[in-house]
Subunit: 376 residues, 2 copies
């Protein structure tokens, strides 16, 4: 029986450490490890060797001295599933030192299997009634506040015109502010403020909870008026984000939070590039916006790495809509001009704690933030 | 309103790079970043500062010159959920360079929220009728074979006495061997061989599929006679593994596969230690066995790292049963004596491709493998 393969292939560009001979050996190992994971000399089916095993399409030395290998795989190896696509891209090879996923090159035949961002840049801007200016986001915190106190903050932020008011990613279902109470109160508060201002602020609760309750969490959030969802795929899996983003009964904007994804990027010789992880993969999994720690804040991402993430949110990916980069992690109002120069206007400025430094009046602080974004 | 905290705390030991001053600063940052993620000077509630923010319990210089900080958190910050526990342990800090999670120290009050391995070492041995000897595992592969051909291999392995016959982790729902057909055929084949031999081999299909189908996959597998489940938490999330392991309607042994988990361990100055990741965390998420690439094979884990994993599967964790280490990744029959010396008898020898090197008779190869394990 001949193998059912279409001939369509996708490619992964890997960065490999070592000299030419070592890079060649690594690329060959990847072709086998990511597919048949079996001694090729013991395979007697020429179709498996010819079609299923990965194929080195190119191997070139880059400007930094490391080698880049483009390895292609039959789209059928990924079985039309995001989980298995991730597995073919980097499953076992993630356990090897000196191999980094630089970027994915996915043909339309594969991209057709994914919906991608439901709203994307244009859809989110339309929903927010903000066709052109940079968008604004803040987080409800600190953990330990009551649901009532968090809702008061949400009200002030919405009153002042912050577009996206998300739970801090550390808010789960703690006794301080239980999930259902918090989500109902905050959604109501944002709606109340919107009625007063005529604005369209959205509240995005963190639904990254237990695997058997996450859909229920999201449905509940929708039912009480949440305007979007915050999800951390590092905590709950990329495919859980895809599942929620593709859910037509929810049909809510999705913001991706980077919690627990850091280990993929902190070692430049291994893991997954900023571009592929926070740009391409979050988009493939349906995120309308991708949060990441910007240069110049509490974290150590470089300006170039951050730029590459922004590029990944907009790079051509067939029918997939571009998503929005949401740089945060210690940004302040003073960071806005420089961030604007780096990211352009298609950006979500995420400012959390620093928004409180101006004083205790949440709405006033939010108005200042909004005026800054309107003025650029 | 005073905060509802029990006073029970769990601790995470972090390894920090830098000198004493830098390590102190990093530890202080972790206390805030992993909890309130908010400027402490803007918090006016003394309970939040005193109870919710993490606390440095100790900071000491280790033998290798790096510092180890023990940071404790109120158990309530983790909200009785594995997802949120992972978030508090390492969510945002995973994005910082120079911080590695060395180990978790979890009190009974927190461990009581988790079932852990349903079978564990004793339960799995009882189910397999193997009270004392090393256990045997192999993988069905290569990808590209038909369901029928994979089932023939499964039959041979069971006939020869391999205890655990798992899908290769790359088998998903590809057209070569669709999930339902493959699982039904392989489960039937193993059952047929068991009837002939009186043995108790188990077939463990890979259920790491789409988030909205994974429970259905597992139920289907159980319904057609699968004896366990193979799950890759790096692909589907640790909490999905926990959810399946805790499901009383399934009540099946769970093997954890390390696909896509590698980036946590490849950088010794960041990520999560082998001990905590493959030992403690997989166990907390209900794995009865933890697969990892052993030293001496195709991967680069050291003997010490592998030993630490085995230690993590058995270290005291309250009421949680010990799980079994399953070293694989290029192991051969010749590796058995050395592996035995390293891991002891409470081990699962996972030999895949190399089992085929002796010749095309799967059952005969399996018998040889079994005899080897019986003789030690």
């Amino acid at each position: 029986v001949p193998l059912e393969v279409s001939g369509e292939r996708f490619a992964v560009v890997y960065r490999l450490t070592g000299d030419a001979r070592e890079a060649q050996a690594k690329a060959r190992d990847i072709c086998v490890e990511q597919t048949i994971e079996f001694p090729p000399e013991l395979v007697d089916d020429p179709d498996i060797l010819g079609q299923v095993v990965g194929r080195i399409e190119s191997l070139e030395r880059g400007a930094d001295g490391a080698y880049e290998a483009s390895v292609s795989y039959a789209v059928e190896t990924a079985g039309a599933e995001l989980v298995q696509l991730l597995n073919v891209v980097f499953g076992n090879t993630s356990l090897q030192p000196g191999v980094r996923v630089q970027r994915l090159e996915l043909p339309d035949a594969l991209l057709a299997q994914f919906r991608g961002p439901r709203f994307g840049r244009d859809g989110l801007r339309e929903r927010l009634g903000a066709p052109d200016r940079p968008l604004l986001c803040t987080a409800l915190k600190p953990m330990g506040l009551s649901a009532k106190a968090l809702a008061e903050r949400a009200y002030g932020f919405a009153l002042g015109g912050v577009d996206l008011i998300k739970d801090d990613h550390g808010l789960a279902d703690q006794p301080f502010a239980p999930f259902r109470e918090r989500v109902a109160r905050c959604a109501e508060a944002v709606e109340r403020a919107n009625r007063l201002t005529g604005g369209r602020s959205l509240y995005l609760p963190n639904v990254s909870g237990p695997a058997d309750r996450i859909v229920e969490h999201a449905r509940y959030a929708k039912s009480v008026g949440a305007g979007g969802l915050l999800i951390a795929p590092g905590l709950v899996g990329f495919d859980t984000m895809r599942r929620l983003a593709e859910d037509d009964a929810l049909a809510l904007p999705v913001m991706c939070h980077p919690a627990l994804l850091g280990s993929f990027v902190t070692n430049p010789e291994a893991g997954i590039s900023h571009y592929a992880l926070f740009g391409q993969l979050t988009r493939l999994a349906g995120a309308d916006a991708s949060i990441f720690p910007s240069y110049g804040g509490r974290f150590a991402f470089s300006r170039a790495e951050c730029r590459s993430i922004a590029a990944g949110t907009a790079a051509p990916m067939g029918h997939l809509r571009p998503s929005l980069p949401a740089p945060g992690g210690g940004m302040s109002l003073e960071s806005v001009p420089d961030m604007l120069a780096t990211y352009g206007r298609d950006v979500i400025f995420l400012i959390g704690g620093a928004l409180h430094r101006r004083g205790p009046d949440t709405a006033e602080n939010a108005r200042h933030f909004r005026a800054l974004a309107e003025s650029v």
